[in-house]
């Protein structure tokens, strides 16, 4: 049985896993899961992951959740080049530092903006109070500020001179609010320059391929059956509002 990756490219952590696997020529079967269709609640997927989130990996009878864990597993198993997750004590620590920090910072704040700007008003038909939007934007700004001032500083990448898992995980999260129509790169030349370097290191074609669906989402929401989202409504509203 080949290695399977359960992915929905609307999801940021799915994109980082997808890019990492493709870039490193890891052979895998792409098992598409549609979050908007609630496929993560299906019986079959429950056997892969009790957590019922994507991305998920199945390698033989070994199942694994959590994008960071998955990428570290692939890096070790397929002996990917050292620069992705340097063996050097301090460099590795810096990558780990970013991978930890981002969960409750840029990941949370970028996701929230995406939901508040797009899915909640446009698909769920719920109006977002200005106050909620303002405080969500404020949180996003402070995360972006920390990325620039603490993690990037004056370096070309987050850690050292080369792309690492940290940059990959960062870029996919930052693209989420961008996909909702908020240009976070505007007025941030340092961040824009970093984005260009990361895209180049990944390869523009692969980067664009991974982001194709999410970048078209403002159009595609117009055709989403809002009935499908009703089941998620209470949970989502509790989470973001």
């Amino acid at each position: 049985m080949s290695l399977e990756l359960y992915l929905d490219l609307f999801s940021q952590p799915c994109r980082s896993v997808y890019i990492f696997a493709k870039k490193n020529k890891v052979s895998f079967e792409f098992k598409k899961l549609s979050l908007l269709d609630g496929e993560h609640y299906g019986e079959e997927f429950g056997k892969i992951s009790l957590i019922r989130k994507v991305p998920a990996l199945r390698d033989g009878d070994f199942c694994l959740a959590e994008s960071v864990a998955i990428m570290l597993y692939l890096a070790e198993k397929f002996k990917t080049p050292d620069f992705w997750y340097p063996a050097d004590l301090q460099q590795r620590a810096r990558v780990n530092e970013y991978l930890s920090w981002q969960h409750t910072a840029i990941r949370m704040h970028g996701s929230k903006i995406f939901w508040l700007r797009l899915l909640i008003p446009k698909v769920m038909g719920v109006e977002v109070p200005q106050e909620k939007m303002d405080s969500a934007l404020e949180d996003l700004q402070s995360s972006l500020k920390l990325i620039e001032e603490k993690f990037l500083q004056d370096g070309p990448f987050i850690v050292g001179d080369h792309i690492t898992l940290a940059d990959l995980v960062a870029i996919v999260e930052i693209m989420q609010p961008v996909a909702s129509g908020l240009d976070v790169f505007e007025g941030r030349p340092k961040l824009s320059a970093w984005r260009d370097r990361v895209q180049e290191a990944i390869g523009k074609e692969l980067f664009d391929e991974a982001h194709q669906d999410i970048l078209a989402v403002q159009e595609s929401v117009k055709t989403i059956d809002s009935g499908k989202m009703q089941i998620f409504k209470p949970k989502i509203l509790k989470l973001f509002m």
């Binding site: 694994l64 864990a69 597993y73 004590l89 590795r92 620590a93 530092e97 920090w101 409750t104 603490k150």
Partner: protein
């Protein structure tokens, strides 16, 4: 000597403290009093602009994020393998837990603690029943996953031996206890696991680490009477928005 900037009322500070002490890694304990707002001092800002704890300072190398610090200590001090096994699948399981816990067990245990300990004095109102119920429900879901997915019928998260995953989980689970919410109640499996973790780390050490937490009933008063309270209040209010 390595410095650890800690306040033991904070779970991630406790995991680093417990690990370093249990493994007899020498360090200087630098107290950052959260209730007095010391994380916002200029002095601490020069250590870390993120203004969170724990922080590690090893010579000129400063590192934030408890899971990054734990992995750094594991790598630097060549600790026994079981703490963070080299085996591919075992390590993946450890990484899976350490990643999942940020937005799940950690978030939910902290939320309950913060609502009970801080909400009334920071928001000048009682915690709305709906808010408390939602927080307790989320906590329940995380505890269910801890038992059903991560622990299952094993003595520890990774199997027969304790690892950093158990330390990180245990300190988070203790947090609601500081406000009288016992997440262990009605969960004999978790109680048994906690006792095993305590035994491995050292009962006295575990108790010492949790002493401050157990005195948290005085936290609201300490905070309110602090000269920094007026400055801290708006920042603390953000925790509840």
């Amino acid at each position: 000597m390595m410095e650890l900037y800690l306040d033991l009322v904070s779970p991630p500070c406790r995991s680093v403290f417990l690990f370093a002490r249990a493994l007899k890694i020498p360090f200087e304990f630098k107290r950052v009093d959260l209730a007095a707002g010391q994380q916002y001092s200029q002095e601490f800002g020069e250590i870390s602009i993120v203004r969170k704890i724990p922080v590690m300072k090893d010579g000129g190398f400063i590192l934030t994020e408890s899971t990054a610090i734990l992995k750094y200590l594991v790598q630097k001090y060549s600790v026994a393998d079981h703490w963070f096994p080299a085996d591919l699948q075992q390590r993946a399981r450890a990484n899976e837990y350490l990643s999942w816990q940020h937005m799940n067990l950690r978030a939910h245990c902290s939320k309950v603690f913060l609502l009970k300990a801080l909400f009334p004095i920071v928001m000048d109102a009682e915690v709305p029943k709906e808010t408390m119920d939602a927080a307790l429900e989320n906590l329940k879901q995380s505890l269910n996953l801890l038992e059903e997915k991560f622990l299952q019928n094993k003595p520890f998260i990774l199997g027969d031996k304790i690892s950093v995953a158990d330390v990180v989980a245990a300190v988070e689970m203790m947090q609601p206890l500081g406000t009288g919410v016992d997440g262990f109640e009605g969960r004999p499996k978790l109680i048994a696991w906690r006792e095993r973790v305590k035994k491995e780390l050292g009962e006295k050490l575990f108790e010492e680490a949790h002493e401050m937490l157990m005195k948290s009933s005085s936290l609201p008063q300490t905070l309110k009477s602090s000269s920094s309270f007026d400055k801290l209040k708006p920042m603390l209010q953000k925790l509840f928005r």
